[in-house]
Subunit: 216 residues, 4 copies
Amino acid sequence: MAPEATRTATGGAPAQERELRAQGRKTMRKLLDAGMTVFERRGYHAARVDDIVKVARTSHGTFYLYFANKADLFRALVTEAAEEMAAHAASLGEVGADDAGYDELRKWLDRFVDLYRHYGPVVRAWTEADVEDSEFGRLGAQLLGDFALTLATRIRDSGRSPVHPQIAALAMVAMIERLNYYVLSRSIDIDRDEMIDTLAAIVHVGVFRGTARRPR
Amino acid sequence: MAPEATRTATGGAPAQERELRAQGRKTMRKLLDAGMTVFERRGYHAARVDDIVKVARTSHGTFYLYFANKADLFRALVTEAAEEMAAHAASLGEVGADDAGYDELRKWLDRFVDLYRHYGPVVRAWTEADVEDSEFGRLGAQLLGDFALTLATRIRDSGRSPVHPQIAALAMVAMIERLNYYVLSRSIDIDRDEMIDTLAAIVHVGVFRGTARRPR
Amino acid sequence: MAPEATRTATGGAPAQERELRAQGRKTMRKLLDAGMTVFERRGYHAARVDDIVKVARTSHGTFYLYFANKADLFRALVTEAAEEMAAHAASLGEVGADDAGYDELRKWLDRFVDLYRHYGPVVRAWTEADVEDSEFGRLGAQLLGDFALTLATRIRDSGRSPVHPQIAALAMVAMIERLNYYVLSRSIDIDRDEMIDTLAAIVHVGVFRGTARRPR
Amino acid sequence: MAPEATRTATGGAPAQERELRAQGRKTMRKLLDAGMTVFERRGYHAARVDDIVKVARTSHGTFYLYFANKADLFRALVTEAAEEMAAHAASLGEVGADDAGYDELRKWLDRFVDLYRHYGPVVRAWTEADVEDSEFGRLGAQLLGDFALTLATRIRDSGRSPVHPQIAALAMVAMIERLNYYVLSRSIDIDRDEMIDTLAAIVHVGVFRGTARRPR
DNA sequence: GATGAATGAGAATTCATTCAT
DNA sequence: GATGAATGAATTCTCATTCAT
């Protein structure tokens, strides 16, 4: 289940008022992809419609045929990312104190890293856009909430953790998201498997009071 | 030792070419404080020089008497913050597996939360500015590096941790910084002490393999 | 062969990155012409982009669609003028000591006066811009050099002149250019033909050691 | 009779309303000299009061104690220069067709080159300021007129010249002034004596119908 | 559907001049 | 007399958005 498979590409406001044919859908996709590229390169604020349009090899006029404005395109990307992330959060199974629990956790983290590698640019630009635009803030808060809620449930279910489940869940999200961010944005050179091992070990022992021998 | 005590207020480029008298230094401080306020409110990008000037109750021209531009003022703030943060990182003592180790960790976190409450606006705006301006990126990467290095040393010194010290250190920073960020920016309502307890517990057990009974 | 015939209208930096259609080229021409008008009226420094835009009956934004800034537009005008001037310098034929030599010289001067009447505004603004902007200085020095070189060759070829050919050539340029400048800028009231006669006579006798009877 | 000897240093408007003591006069002279330096370096427009004040090692406030504004200081310099120039123009004696005439002309030119080397910066900035500010334009037109009138009289007096005396006089001024300008501003490398010889030869033969053998 | 051209509000920056000490 | 500080009008330039073809 590669991220690409589920791309919904809802499209912006103007596009939803019209029927899109094959060509139209293609143009819209080009713009979305270009947006991704540009937001990654320059962040949300510094990204200009002009940049996006150039990368997509279309014109200014065309852009506004599909999206109401820059925020509209961004919202489409963010929504796509948020849905994938939320789905992923829910996919974490029971995390026992034993090796099986560790494995479940590790597998889940592994998948997260994939997702983040794909949607990272959006998530990062999001953090940035967030500050002023309360709309993105709300979207983000909700995603964060959903994400943390699922984890909190798993922590509480484990019945072992002496820590505050909600806070611990948020702390976990913080650690996982931000470490990935550091690695991607600062080009810190960390071995992917080692990173996942470390995260899994800290979370399993620190949050789920795992007792399994450290693997590898 | 409140943060205010050590404020160095280096000042921007134009201010460093002149020697400032009392009044000048006062005005510069007003501008720095106003910058803090505005960056907090609107983030780095959305902050306009005009906003800062209004908050500081000075004129446009005056601003440029002390700082070359918005980035220059921000750099002054960032430098101030970075110095404090780095100093704090270095202040973490040995973290044993016992209660004393836990206490050391908790005390250190407690102090961090204070610092972050003060400099948070800067750190957050920093993350945002970072994307385009590589200068801030470098400053940030360096601070992150310094911070993580100190922690990695403590982890390695503890001799107990089966996790990769450098990665674990980065993960710790990520968790601590980001959880504070969530709390401050999303106005998530978490009790300060509980948050510190939780962070201390996760790190002590997860990273330092602490064995102490959960306090409280 | 009126000056208008050869207008190349190279255009400024931004315009060269796109390909212009008919409308675009027209707008660019409007801006160039407006620039000429405004530089003539107020000189290089006092000319504001706003003035140019008003004369061209376009908007501010449009200006920057075609030129990077005032200097960029000016450079386009200067280049145009420099090319014409250089071509004209090269068109001076052999100048003998007899009446034919005088006639050649006079014809050439006559044409120069036409050219200068057209490009004078640019040349004058150039002198002014020159002081600070070394780029224009270089362009000007080169044009001056080209111009003088051609004349120096003619002087040397004449074989009669006891004066230093290069210095004499520069002196000629100085006299011709500056007298035209005085006449145009100070609105000194001199009869065009008399001016040309006088210049021709001085140069023919003073530089080429002409022996022809004074014409008219 | 070096230029320095006759410096009148009239001073700007504000200075004339007060009595100046020794210190005051010294400060004013510092500002005038600094103005000269800065106008030479950057031209009239680009020269900022700030530059002048820095070179003079005084403050902004002090500047306005002596001059009403930038133009006021410039006017003081220009007046000084204009007086010297006018006096020099008048000093040209009778120019005969023989060697003595040539010598008179040459001596006069020699002195002019000295003067121009000193006041050149002012004259050049003047040309530039002239474009917009009609006050300087008038001053310049008057100087030019005075200068040319004197020469025209000498030309007419010589009784030999078949050229139009007034036009020829203007042409002479143009040539002399501009060649010096080229040499000073473009740092064209011409031997001073050769330049004077050439100018003298062209003018003597071309304007005064001199018959003397070319000297040197 | 698509495109190049045009627009203008908004933000940054400079610098001559005035002011308070 | 002298000075550093403050001011704000004037300009330049950018870029999201609309328009005409």
